[in-house]
C-alpha cells in the first residue's frame, strides 16, 4: 500500500493505475481524484502561487480548491489550470505543475517573494507608467511573466463536445445528503428529474463523514445503496462529474458534464464533455457549504488544509495528509476531524479553539481519546520552508485582537483550519435571489426567492445535519404538492449524528505572531495571492465598496471565484470601515460557478458545422468548372472562373469585357425572394417602400428601396406585379431573412388588419441571369416561346413561358446596364437549364461570370449595393436617389426621419472617384482628405465604398461617400494610404460607362 493510505475507502476495489506528475511515475486508484492520489504518494508541493511564486499545496476536497492548479495531458489535448481535486486519474494520465521554472521545487520565480512588499495589491496601477514611451517594452516583459498555465501549442483539439437540451419537472443541484433525500421523494412521485453533482459519486458529505448513521448503515453505505436504486428509476437522470455553472432566466440552467464513458480510445465517436441546457419547472438547490480557512500568517504553506477536507480525504479516499497535526478552529465541526485523524493513527497534538468554550457533546469524545483542547487560543504563525514545519500557538485577548502569551511552538506536518462555513449561494444569487446576513453563523444565506426554486440544507443556511434532512423532506413535499401529485410519498430515516454546538467565533484577521514583519503574510485569496494587508491597503486608498475592493485586489477573481476567500475579505473590510457586514454586502455572483471549457461552450459548432454553408442547385457545375468561391453571408457564391495561368484580375477583366461585348451568365439564385399575396398587397408595398406602388401594372417590375424607421437605407430590390393580389419581391442575398422578419414584424404588430400573406420562396427558384448584347439571341436559340422583342418585352417587365419544356418566368431587369434577362425556374431544373444555356450560348461566346465581375459591371454604371455603398447611416438623398422618394404618399417606413435629414448639413453623399493615375486602384475604405499637406489629425471627408479596375473604361473607378459630395463634383481630393502614399483623385458623377443607358435595349 502507498505510504499515506488508510483502510476502507470508496475506491478500494478499483484497479490500480499509473500516472505521472512532473515526469515522476506514481500509483493511484482508478477514478480517485488526482489530489487524493498526490496526497497518497506523499506529495505536498503541487504548485507555485500566481504572483509571489510561493510554494503551495492542496487545501480542499472539491471545486473550492484554490491552489492545486495543474496542466494535464500532452500535445493537442493539453488543458491548463485544472483543479487537481476535479480530475479523476486514469492509467497513463500525464500531469504537470504550473507557474514554475525550471522546476517546482527550485523555482526561479520564488525570488519575487523577497520583493513582495513592493508588489502589494494595485501595484500594477502605480508602476510601469513612466516614461510612457517605455510602455511597449514593459508590456513585452509583463506578458511573458503574467498568466497562469499554458495552453496547448497545437490548437486542434481532437476531442468532441456537444450540447443537449433537456426539459424536466425537477432539477436537483447537488447530490449530497439533502440532494439525495429530495431525489428519493421526487423520484418516487414519478416526476421527470435530473440530479446533478460535480463528483463522480453521489453522496457529498455522506461519503466524507464517519460519524453519521442512517437507518443503521454508515452514511457512505446508505449513499451508495441509494444512488444505485435511483439509477434504476426510469424517470431519473443522474449526472455525475457535472458542474451546474449557470442559473439563467426562466429556470434555464446550464450544466457541464464530463462524460463518464469517454476515453482517448473512443474519442472519435464519444463526446468528452456535454453541455446540458436544462429547462426545469422547479429547481432544488442543494449545493451545501464551503469551509473557510482562518487568516493566519503563513497559512498558505503546503500542509495547511481545511479541516473538513482532511477528514474527507481520510474517509472518502483513504489517504492521510499528515501524522503530526494541530487543528485550529472557531466551531465544533473541526473536532470531528480530530476524532477521525486519531482513529487512523495520526497524532493530534492540540485542538486550538478561538472560542472561550463549547457546549457540544463532541467535547466529551475528544477528552475520551486524550486530545488537548486549548480554548481562547489561536495559531499565530505557521512556519516552514516548502511545507509546514511548526506552528506558534498563543492565547488570545477576549476581544480577539491581540496576543496575550505565546504558549508553545509545535512541530507539525499537517495543520487543519476551520474558520466557519459559507453556504453555497452562487447559483441562488445568479437566479436573482436576495441574501441576508446570519450573524450567528457569520454567513450570507438565501432570503428572497425570485425564480421557481427552493434551497435546502447547508446552502439554505441550515447547518445541523438532522435539521437539514427534516427541512428537505418538508420543503420537497410542499414542492410536490404544486405538481398535484396524488400519491403521497414518504421516507423514513433514522439518523444518528454527533451533537455539535452551533456557536461560531469569527475573528477575520488573526493577530500575527510573525516577528518578521516584512515576510508577514496572512492569505485571504490563495489563488490570486491576496493577503489581509491588501484589504487594508485598498481601503486606505479609498476602495471601500466591495466591488472596488474585488477589482483592486483581485480578491475572488480566480477560478475558485472566492469560495474560500470572499467572506473573510468582506469581514476584514467591515472591521476596517467599522461597518456591519450586511452594509458591505457581496459582489455580484456571475456564471460560471466553476470553470467551463470553451470546447463545451462551442459544442458541435466548429469546423464544417461552425455555420451552415449554403450552396445553390447550380453549385455542382461551378465546382466542377473550378470556380473560386466567396462567402456572401452563409452562401458560397462563384467569385470568378479562372482559366489556366490566369490571375484573379485577368479572370475578372475577361469576364467583364466578355459580358459587355458578347454575353455573360451568372447564377443569381441566392437573391432573396418573397411571395406577397392578398388584396392589400399594394397598400403593404406602399408602406414598406419609399416609392409609389399603386399604379404598377400586371407583368411589370419596379425597383424599390426600403428604409428603417430612422430613414436609413435597409435593403433594395425589384418587385414585380403578377396580378393585383400577387407580387414577387426580391431582396439582396444577405438581407433575405432580415427583410422577411422585418416585414412580418410590421405586418403582425402594426398592420394586422392588412390582408396580406408573405411567404419566403428564396430557394424555390433558381435564377440565371444572362447579360450582354447577345443575350436575346441566346434565349431565342434556346427555343424559348416568348417574343423577346423590345416592343413585346420591354425593360422592367416579365413574361412566363417555356424553354425546352421547362416552365420559366423571365424578368427583363438589369444589374449590369446591359440587355439582361433573369430566368427564374423551379430550383430542381436550375442545373439542367444552366447547362443547356451554356451549351447553346457557346456559339455566341457566352461565358460565366462571378460575383467579382458583377461588382465591376454594376459599379461601372454607378448602381449601388446595399451594405457596400450603405452602412445603416445612408439615406436615399445621400445616394442621389431623390427620385425614388414619393412626394405624394402620406406615409411609409422612414418618411418622418427623412424630413429630419433634409435639414442636416455636411451629410456624406455618393460620388464617383477617378484617380489621376488611371492605373491606381484605391483600396476600399480609404479615407479622403482635402489638404495634401495635412497634419495629424487630418480632417476626413469620407471614404471609398467600392473600388475596381474597369477594363471597359480602361482605368480604375471608385464610388465614395463624401461630405457634401454632390456639390464637390470636379474637385480634387487626396487619399493617404497605409503605406504613407498619397493618391490624388477627382470627384465625378457616379456613372463611368454608358451614362445614357443606351445599352439596356441591346446594341
Amino acid at each position: 500500500m502507498i505510504k499515506n493510505r488508510v483502510n476502507n475507502f470508496i475506491h478500494k476495489n478499483k484497479n490500480k493505475v499509473l500516472f505521472s506528475f512532473d515526469n515522476k511515475k506514481l500509483e493511484g486508484y482508478e477514478g480517485e481524484s488526482l489530489a487524493s492520489a498526490l496526497i497518497a504518494n506523499g506529495i505536498k508541493l503541487v504548485g507555485r502561487s500566481f504572483k509571489y511564486h510561493r510554494p503551495r499545496g492542496i487545501i480542499a476536497l472539491g471545486s473550492e480548491e484554490p491552489n492545486a492548479l495543474v496542466r494535464v495531458n500532452t500535445g493537442d489535448r493539453v488543458e491548463p489550470n485544472i483543479q487537481a481535486t476535479q480530475i479523476q486519474i486514469y492509467d497513463g494520465l500525464k500531469v504537470e505543475s504550473q507557474n514554475r521554472w525550471p522546476s517546482l521545487k527550485y523555482d526561479f520565480g520564488s525570488i519575487i517573494s523577497f520583493f513582495s512588499k513592493s508588489l502589494p495589491a494595485g501595484f500594477y496601477y502605480k508602476t510601469f507608467m513612466w516614461p510612457s514611451s517605455m510602455w511597449k517594452t514593459y508590456e513585452y516583459f509583463i506578458r511573458r511573466i503574467a498568466g497562469l498555465g499554458q495552453a496547448a501549442e497545437i490548437h486542434d483539439d481532437p476531442d468532441k463536445y456537444e450540447h443537449i437540451h433537456s426539459h424536466v419537472d425537477i432539477l436537483i443541484v447537488g447530490g449530497g445528503a439533502t440532494g439525495i433525500v429530495s431525489g428519493i421523494l421526487t423520484a418516487n412521485s414519478g416526476l421527470k428529474m435530473i440530479i446533478a453533482d460535480e463528483n463522480s459519486y453521489l453522496g457529498g458529505s455522506l461519503l466524507t463523514e464517519s460519524d453519521i448513521k442512517i437507518n443503521s448503515s454508515t452514511s457512505s453505505e446508505w449513499a451508495v445503496k441509494t444512488e444505485k436504486s435511483l439509477e434504476k428509476m426510469e424517470n431519473v437522470t443522474i449526472l455525475k462529474n457535472s458542474n451546474v455553472f449557470g442559473y439563467h432566466d426562466h429556470n434555464y440552467i446550464t450544466i457541464a458534464e464530463k462524460c463518464l464513458n469517454y476515453s482517448f480510445q473512443n474519442s472519435s465517436t464519444k463526446p468528452k464533455q456535454r453541455l446540458w441546457k436544462v429547462r426545469a419547472k422547479k429547481v432544488i438547490l442543494a449545493q451545501g457549504l464551503f469551509e473557510r480557512p482562518l487568516t493566519i500568517s503563513g497559512n498558505d504553506l503546503p500542509g495547511v488544509m481545511l479541516s473538513a477536507s482532511v477528514r474527507g480525504y481520510i474517509n472518502k479516499y483513504g489517504v492521510l495528509p499528515g501524522k503530526e497535526v494541530v487543528i485550529c478552529t472557531n466551531n465544533d465541526d473541526a473536532y470531528r476531524t480530530a476524532i477521525d485523524l486519531n482513529r487512523v493513527g495520526a497524532n493530534v497534538k492540540y485542538i486550538v479553539d478561538l472560542r472561550k468554550e463549547t457546549s457540544g457533546e463532541i467535547l466529551k469524545a475528544i477528552k475520551k481519546i486524550g486530545i488537548t483542547v486549548l480554548f481562547e487560543h489561536t495559531i499565530t504563525f505557521i512556519s516552514g520552508f516548502r511545507e509546514v514545519n511548526y506552528v506558534d500557538i498563543s492565547s488570545l485577548s477576549p476581544d480577539g485582537k491581540t496576543i496575550l502569551n505565546k504558549v508553545k511552538k509545535v512541530k507539525v506536518d499537517l495543520v487543519a483550519l476551520s474558520g466557519g462555513w459559507t453556504p453555497s449561494v452562487n447559483l441562488f444569487s445568479q437566479s436573482g435571489g436576495k441574501l441576508i446576513w446570519d450573524n450567528n453563523f457569520s454567513c450570507f444565506k438565501p432570503l428572497t426567492h425570485v425564480q421557481n426554486e427552493i434551497t435546502i440544507g447547508g446552502c439554505n443556511g441550515t447547518f445541523d445535519f438532522k435539521n437539514s434532512i427534516l427541512e428537505t423532506i418538508e420543503k420537497t413535499n410542499l414542492l410536490l404538492k404544486e405538481f398535484k401529485i396524488k400519491k403521497s410519498v414518504n421516507i423514513t430515516l433514522n439518523i444518528k449524528t454527533p451533537k455539535l454546538s452551533q456557536t461560531v467565533r469569527s475573528i477575520w484577521n488573526i493577530p500575527s505572531g510573525n516577528k518578521n514583519i516584512a515576510r508577514d503574510k496572512a492569505f485571504i485569496d490563495f489563488q490570486n495571492d491576496v493577503v489581509s494587508s491588501d484589504i487594508i491597503l485598498a481601503s486606505n486608498e479609498g476602495y471601500n465598496s466591495v466591488e472596488h475592493l474585488k477589482r483592486y485586489t483581485t480578491l475572488g477573481m480566480g477560478t475558485d471565484q472566492g469560495k474560500t476567500s470572499n467572506i473573510n475579505g468582506i469581514g476584514i473590510l467591515s472591521e476596517k470601515l467599522a461597518k456591519k457586514i450586511p452594509e458591505i454586502g457581496t459582489t455580484t455572483f456571475r456564471m460560471p460557478y466553476t470553470p467551463v471549457t470553451f470546447g463545451v461552450i462551442g459544442g458541435k459548432d466548429i469546423k464544417n458545422l461552425f455555420d451552415p454553408i449554403r450552396l445553390t442547385r447550380i453549385n455542382p457545375w461551378h465546382k466542377k468548372n473550378k470556380s473560386k468561391f466567396e462567402h456572401v453571408g452563409q452562401w458560397m457564391r462563384a467569385w470568378y472562373y479562372p482559366r489556366k495561368n490566369e490571375t484573379m484580375q485577368n479572370s475578372v477583366n475577361r469576364e467583364v469585357l466578355n459580358t459587355r461585348n458578347n454575353a455573360g451568365i451568372i447564377d443569381a439564385s441566392t437573391l432573396g425572394k418573397i411571395d406577397i399575396k392578398g388584396p392589400d398587397a399594394r397598400k403593404f408595398l406602399n408602406m414598406v417602400y419609399t416609392n409609389n406602388w399603386s399604379l404598377i401594372k400586371e407583368g411589370h417590375c419596379k425597383y424599390g428601396i426600403m428604409l428603417k424607421e430612422d430613414g436609413m437605407v435597409m435593403d433594395d430590390g425589384v418587385t414585380s406585379c403578377i396580378n393585383d393580389n400577387h407580387f414577387h419581391m426580391t431582396t439582396t442575398t444577405g438581407g433575405a431573412s432580415t427583410v422577411m422578419s422585418w416585414l412580418e414584424e410590421w405586418l403582425q404588430t402594426e398592420w394586422p388588419h392588412f390582408k396580406v400573406f408573405l411567404t419566403s420562396v428564396t430557394e424555390n427558384w433558381s435564377v440565371i441571369s444572362i447579360s450582354g448584347p447577345k443575350a436575346r439571341a441566346i434565349i431565342n436559340d434556346l427555343g424559348c416561346d416568348i417574343n423577346l422583342s423590345n416592343e413585346n418585352f420591354p425593360f422592367m417587365t416579365f413574361k412566363d413561358g417555356k424553354i425546352d419544356k421547362i416552365p420559366v418566368r423571365i424578368f427583363r431587369i438589369s444589374f449590369t446596364g446591359e440587355l439582361s434577362y433573369e430566368i427564374n425556374t423551379h430550383a430542381r431544373y436550375g442545373l439542367q437549364l444552366w447547362e443547356k444555356i451554356l451549351k447553346v450560348g457557346q456559339k455566341h461566346q457566352l461565358m460565366p461570370y462571378g460575383t467579382e465581375a458583377m461588382h465591376v459591371l454594376r459599379a461601372e454604371k454607378g448602381f449601388i449595393i446595399v451594405g457596400q455603398e450603405t452602412d445603416g447611416s445612408v439615406n436615399p438623398y445621400d445616394l442621389g436617389m431623390d427620385w425614388i422618394i414619393s412626394k405624394k404618399k402620406n406615409d411609409f417606413i422612414g418618411k418622418r426621419s427623412l424630413e429630419r435629414d433634409l435639414l442636416s448639413k455636411d451629410r456624406k453623399q455618393l460620388v464617383g472617384i477617378l484617380t489621376l493615375d488611371p492605373t491606381k486602384v484605391i483600396p476600399e475604405g480609404a479615407h479622403a482628405i482635402e489638404d495634401p499637406n495635412y497634419k495629424l489629425p487630418a480632417k476626413m471627408l469620407g471614404h471609398v465604398t467600392s473600388s475596381y479596375y474597369s477594363p471597359n473604361c480602361n482605368r480604375s473607378i471608385a464610388l465614395a461617400l463624401l461630405k457634401n459630395g454632390h456639390s464637390r463634383i470636379g474637385e480634387t481630393i487626396f487619399f493617404p494610404l497605409l503605406n504613407r502614399e498619397l493618391v490624388s483623385a477627382k470627384i465625378v458623377k457616379p456613372v463611368f460607362f454608358d451614362p445614357k443607358g443606351d445599352r439596356l435595349n441591346g446594341i
Binding site: P612, G678, P679, F757, N764, P807, R828
Partner: protein
Amino acid sequence: MEYSFLNISNKKDVNTLSFLKNEEVFSINNKIGLKIKNSGSLNIFNIRGNLLQSMFIKNIKDILSLELSTNVGHFKKNKISILLKIGPDELLLINNKDNFNLMKTLKEKMNKIHFGLTELSDHYQALYLSGEKTRWVLSKGCPINLDENIFLPGHCAQTLLGNSNIILFCTEKNEFTLICVSSYANYILSWLKESSLEHGYKYNN
C-alpha cells in the same frame, strides 16, 4: 401563359441531397441508433388564411379529405397527404403524389376569401428520421421538449436544429420527418451524422 406549379409535368426527382452517395452506414457494435432517409421529391404547399373560418375549414376537409387540427403544433394525415398546422394562420401541406388538380380546385373554391396558396416543393428538403436514438440525437440541437410523452405522434413544430430553422413532425414514437430549407440540407445531414456518431447511423438516398 402564366407560370404556375400546375403546369409542371416533368416531375424530376432531384433535390439538394440527390448528388450524394446512395447509402452510408456507420455502426457502433453493429448497432444503428439513427436512420436518415432522403424523402425524394415531395409536393409541399404553404396555405394561409383564417383557419377559424368555416368556409376555409369546409373546403380543406372536402377537397383535401383532411380535418384541420384544432391546435397549432399538430397535424392530420391521410393516405397521400399530411397537413401541418404550423402557425395560427399557416398550414403546410405535404404529399408524395401528384395532386395538382386538388390544388387547382382548392384555389378556385377559396377565391372569394382571403387565402394564400404557395408552392414550395423546391424551397424545402425533407428527411425521414427513425431509430431508437432519434429523440436523443435531435435533442442535441433542438430546444423543444422532445420527450416521448410530450412530443407525440401527431405533433409538429417550427424550431431549430443546430444553426438551422426546421419544421419537425412526429409520425410514430421514434419516427420523425424533418423539413429544412434546401440549401441547409447538407449542413443538417452533416449535423445529424456527427451527432449520431456515438450510436451509429445509416443514411439512404
